[in-house]
Every structure is written in structure tokens, then in C-alpha cells.
Assembly symmetry: C2
Homo-oligomer: 98 residues x 2
């Protein structure tokens, strides 16, 4: 299992719209092969900042599978208009959890 | 419940030491009032980058409680020597989870 962490920023005034779009988009990514679950976060100090934590079976399930699937443009269509800049996406392994 | 996200960077060559120090430090933070659990992550693209996701009952349990408790210097003592710069710490609310 690996973890994708995506950090997104809303355009000025678009925080609520981005939140709603991301909620709708979750139903799309949940259909992807190798998707294991996710938690979507919104900043307290910076309400225009969002952080998505998405678990995948493998790195390739995200980078090769999902991003090249028909689901990817559908996923992005729910929130792309509300983004300020490109999302910052990194992958992580988990080394301690409880 | 709120989520703390802390991003830390290891000094050059100190990635394994930071990983070990953070594992040891978890036993300390787990004693804090209002601590609910945590997941510690290490970067795949950037193995010197670490991301801690820590759940707290309230924002104040972290900012006022833990940071001002006797546990805080003990927590930091396990890994502070391996840090490159100060951690970047933000707080988030969860708006979608499964």
C-alpha cells in the first residue's frame, strides 16, 4: 500500500465550490482499480488549502492506472475550475501507524 | 476531531536516523491528552521528506496542551538533531472520509 498526498489551493472566493467539487469527485476516484480509501481535508488556518490523502494498492495503480483511465478526466471535471494553480502531488510509504 | 499535518525534512544523509527517531518519538506523543492516533509517512520520490498525520480531539489539545506540556521537549529530543530546518505544521478539518 502507498499513500498519495495531493495539496490543492482554491481560487480566491472558491473555497466552498472546491470543497463541494471534491466531495462529488470522490465517487469517481472510488471506482478506480487499486483505490483503497481516502480522507479529504480542508485547512483551518488557510481555508483555501485542501489536502487529499488517498490510499492505493500500488504506486502504479495511481500513476499508470488511474491517471490514464477514462475516470481521470471525469474526476478532474468536478473541481478543476476552482483550482488556483496545479495540485502538488507526492507519494509516501507508511512506516508507523495506529 | 482535527488533523495536524507536519512536514519534516531530514538533513542530507540523515533520512534513516530521522525515521528511527520519529518511530521512537511516537511513544511519547501517544501519551498526550487529546491524542487520537497517527500515521507517519516517508516520501517515495523524496526519501528525505516525512509527513506526519496526527489526529487530536481539539485544536487546543495540540497547540495549547501538548506543545506546552513536559512531553513536548521529550518528543522533539528523539529527532530534532536530524531535521533540516523547522517542521511545517498546519491543521485541517476532515470533510470526507471512508
Amino acid at each position: 500500500m502507498i499513500v498519495e498526498i495531493a495539496r490543492l489551493k482554491a481560487k480566491p472566493g472558491a473555497g466552498e465550490s472546491l470543497r463541494g467539487g471534491l466531495r462529488a469527485a470522490r465517487a469517481v476516484i472510488a471506482q478506480a482499480a487499486g483505490y483503497r480509501g481516502s480522507v479529504f481535508h480542508r485547512g483551518i488556518e488557510e481555508p483555501d488549502s485542501f489536502l487529499l490523502r488517498i490510499e492505493w494498492e500500488t504506486l502504479e495503480a495511481h500513476t499508470a492506472g488511474f491517471r490514464q483511465s477514462r475516470l481521470f478526466p471525469e474526476w478532474r471535471s468536478h473541481f478543476a475550475d476552482f483550482l488556483d494553480g496545479a495540485p502538488d502531488v507526492r507519494h509516501y510509504e507508511v512506516f508507523a501507524e495506529e
